[in-house]
């Protein structure tokens, strides 16, 4: 309905291959960015920024990471939490060992550390597939979390086994982590990093490497026969996916909670990210954001609903009901649209583009 595509013809491949080839989409994206960069920091409350927006961004990044591995390359992983933990602890070790290291560099390096670990745990993917692989990634999940909990070196021998983000600035006195950092600064930093990394991810999935991943996902034998090297491709997916999860983990520890223990990245975290990409849509960068938004907002809505409706229910019961409803919703979603919110959006957009015609 709002689309006016007549006249938006492409005279170059660059324009034809743009991420948002339609002008109305470009405008929409610009508006979203404007809201995210201007309206949110100005109008959003601290609560809103700290408990909704920052976790939303962090989860989105992790979901992009998992989506690269599972949605694009077709390798089911249940070890996302562990890769996030790698990033978190690497960032902690890096920032404490090299206090002068710029926070951006530290974050990216911690992503690299997670990527290295990802490669190691991705090695079995050459031999094993599907659920066997999923179970194998659980090995990473349990082993790594155990490792971070048991080896005091990772926490700089802290007695509590908890790490806290040291105060760090991007430039000068502009603190983005630690006690001095305002929620706005932390939010904007996360936003920028996530936006840039999301763009890079989008670029990868629409390039040769992304097509290799999808080829392996859709039909690995055919992929190999046209010249794709399975191990290298799968490992690249593991590495890049783990990089994203690692950075997300570091953001989690440094920008969201501030302090973190290995338990924060347990198997439930892995499942949580997996829901995001399933509900958001496998094989879609947009889906990662939609799924993260959904999973972040859902518990908040669920936990407030009885209060808002004035139902006299004990908090314990509420938490049980919450879990139940959550499970039901997942099943409901899978039945209604197994391809997730991203597919729903695509269908909706297609309708808008063809409006008023049905096809």
């Amino acid at each position: 309905m709002f689309y006016r595509e007549a006249g938006q013809f492409k005279v170059s491949y660059a324009a034809d291959q743009a991420i948002f080839p339609i002008r109305q989409d470009q405008i929409g994206m610009a508006m979203i960015l404007a809201v995210a960069y201007v309206v949110m920091p100005v109008a959003g409350s601290e609560y809103w920024l700290e408990t909704i927006m920052i976790p939303f961004l962090v989860f989105s990044l992790a979901a992009i990471g998992l989506n690269i591995l599972t949605g694009y390359a077709g390798q089911l992983s249940l070890g996302t939490g562990a890769f996030m933990a790698c990033g978190a602890f690497a960032a902690y070790k890096l920032t404490t060992a090299f206090p002068d290291l710029n926070i951006i560099v530290a974050l990216l390096l911690s992503g690299v550390a997670a990527a290295a670990v990802g490669i190691v745990f991705g090695l079995p993917s050459l031999r094993i597939k599907g659920f066997y692989l999923a179970v194998a990634t659980l090995a990473a999940q349990f082993f790594l979390i155990w490792l971070f909990a048991k080896v005091p070196w990772f926490t700089n021998y802290s007695a509590s086994g908890v790490i806290s983000a040291p105060p760090r600035a991007v430039v000068g006195e502009l603190y983005v982590t630690g006690v001095h950092a305002t929620p706005q600064a932390r939010y904007l930093f996360c936003l920028t990093l996530v936006a840039v990394l999301a763009l890079l991810a989008k670029n990868m999935v629409r390039s040769s490497i992304g097509r290799q991943w999808m080829a392996i996902r859709d039909m690995d034998i055919a992929a190999e026969i046209i010249g794709i090297r399975p191990l290298r491709t799968k490992l690249s997916a593991f590495a890049i996916s783990s990089f994203y999860c690692g950075v997300a983990g570091a953001l989690w520890a440094f920008f969201y909670t501030g302090t973190v223990e290995p338990g924060a990245f347990d198997i439930n975290r892995s499942f949580q990210i997996l829901y995001m990409i399933i509900i958001g849509g496998l094989g879609s960068i947009l889906g990662a954001f939609l799924g993260a938004g959904f999973i972040v907002l859902l518990p908040i809505v669920l936990s407030r609903l009885p209060l808002m409706l004035g139902l006299p229910i004990s908090t314990a019961t509420i938490s049980h009901i919450e879990v139940m409803v959550f499970g039901t919703l997942i099943v409901f979603f899978l039945i209604v649209e197994p391809h997730g919110l991203a597919r729903l959006w695509r269908i909706f957009k297609e309708k808008l583009r063809l409006w008023p015609f049905p096809y």
């Binding site: 194998a136 979390i145 155990w146 048991k150 139940m324 039901t328 997942i330």
Partner: protein, 312 residues
């Protein structure tokens, strides 16, 4: 560092050599725990074999069954009635699951069904605890817990009962699969859905039956685990222990689930007792997975799984 290496590579073996009776005790204890793993893994295998669904909710079903059983006991039911009532609950659960979750998702890719069972897990956890509360419940059905000494080896009599029960269950299932019409049909489904349809059994009924059987297995496992650990949320996590068993045994092999369970149980106990202290403890969380993963690299289809021949 040297001490650490010695703790890993020398001390455990020395200790095994020096105290063989203790080693046997540990081993037997591990094997008996392994039997319990097998019970849970069995539920997985049944469902995966018949419907190709990777049922993550098996652990939740164990908790769910145990909660109901313990709840019925607390409500004053006699053991046999509580057992019957819980069985009815599990069959009802199978029917509802098939109708509400599986049927609408038929023909969806495996990962979607897998996700649906995770949804089911959440539902069962929430629902069970909403009804029965989240306090720890005790199941006491009169199984003796005194240690027994056989040839100088101390064994918990409860473990023996559990082992025997599991063994009987497995034997029963094996008989069921081999000698009943339904059992044969189930095996046919596992091999080929089309073939199953030609036998004349609707897929839906087969799914209900197999989920019911898996539910009953979960009930038995729940009673066993519940008696030994108490009924609480952590029971659901037993499922995570069953996963390496599956890898080891193969997703589709009943004997694989048994043998895999025994191996995992035994090695876990031995690892915990002999290597745990050196590594800082709590290694049972992951070391079963590590064993399974290393194993997978050499035999991707598991111990008893069918060899995968790739076709073009």
């Amino acid at each position: 560092m040297e001490g650490f290496l010695s703790d890993i590579f020398i001390a455990p073996f020395v200790s095994m050599w020096e105290y063989p009776v203790f080693l046997v005790e540990v081993l037997v204890g591990g094997l008996l725990v392994g039997v319990m793993y097998s019970l849970v893994a069995l539920g997985f295998v049944l469902i995966f074999k018949a419907s190709g669904v990777f049922n993550f909710a098996q652990g939740a079903m164990v908790l769910f069954a145990a909660l109901f059983f313990a709840g019925f006991l607390e409500a004053g039911m006699p053991v046999w009635l509580a057992l019957g009532a819980s069985a009815v609950v599990m069959v009802a659960l199978a029917i509802v699951t098939e109708r509400v979750v599986l049927r609408p998702l038929v023909n969806q890719p495996p990962i979607v069904l897998f996700m649906a069972t995770i949804g089911l897990t959440f539902f069962l956890d929430g629902f069970g605890q909403m009804i029965w509360g989240s306090d720890i419940k005790v199941i006491d059905i009169g199984i003796p817990k005194e240690p027994l000494e056989i040839h100088g080896v101390l064994i918990n009599s409860f473990d023996i009962v559990a082992g025997v029960t599991a063994g009987l269950l497995v034997a029963g299932l094996a008989l069921f699969f081999h000698y009943t019409k339904i059992g044969r049909a189930l095996r046919a489904v596992a091999d080929d859905h089309q073939a199953a349809l030609s036998v004349g059994i609707p897929l839906q009924s087969i799914w209900v039956i197999v989920w019911s059987v898996a539910g009953l297995v979960a009930l038995v496992a729940g009673i066993m685990w519940g008696s030994s650990l108490g009924v609480q949320f952590s029971l659901a996590l037993v499922a995570l222990k069953a996963l390496p068993v599956l890898i080891l045994g193969g997703f589709t092999s009943i004997p694989g689930a048994i043998v895999g369970g025994l191996i995992i149980g035994a090695s876990e106990k031995i690892g915990e007792v002999y290597w745990g202290p050196a590594l800082g403890g709590a290694i049972e969380d992951w070391h079963a997975y590590m064993i399974a993963m290393v194993f997978l690299l050499f035999r991707p289809q598991g111990l008893f799984g069918e060899k995968i021949i790739e076709r073009v």
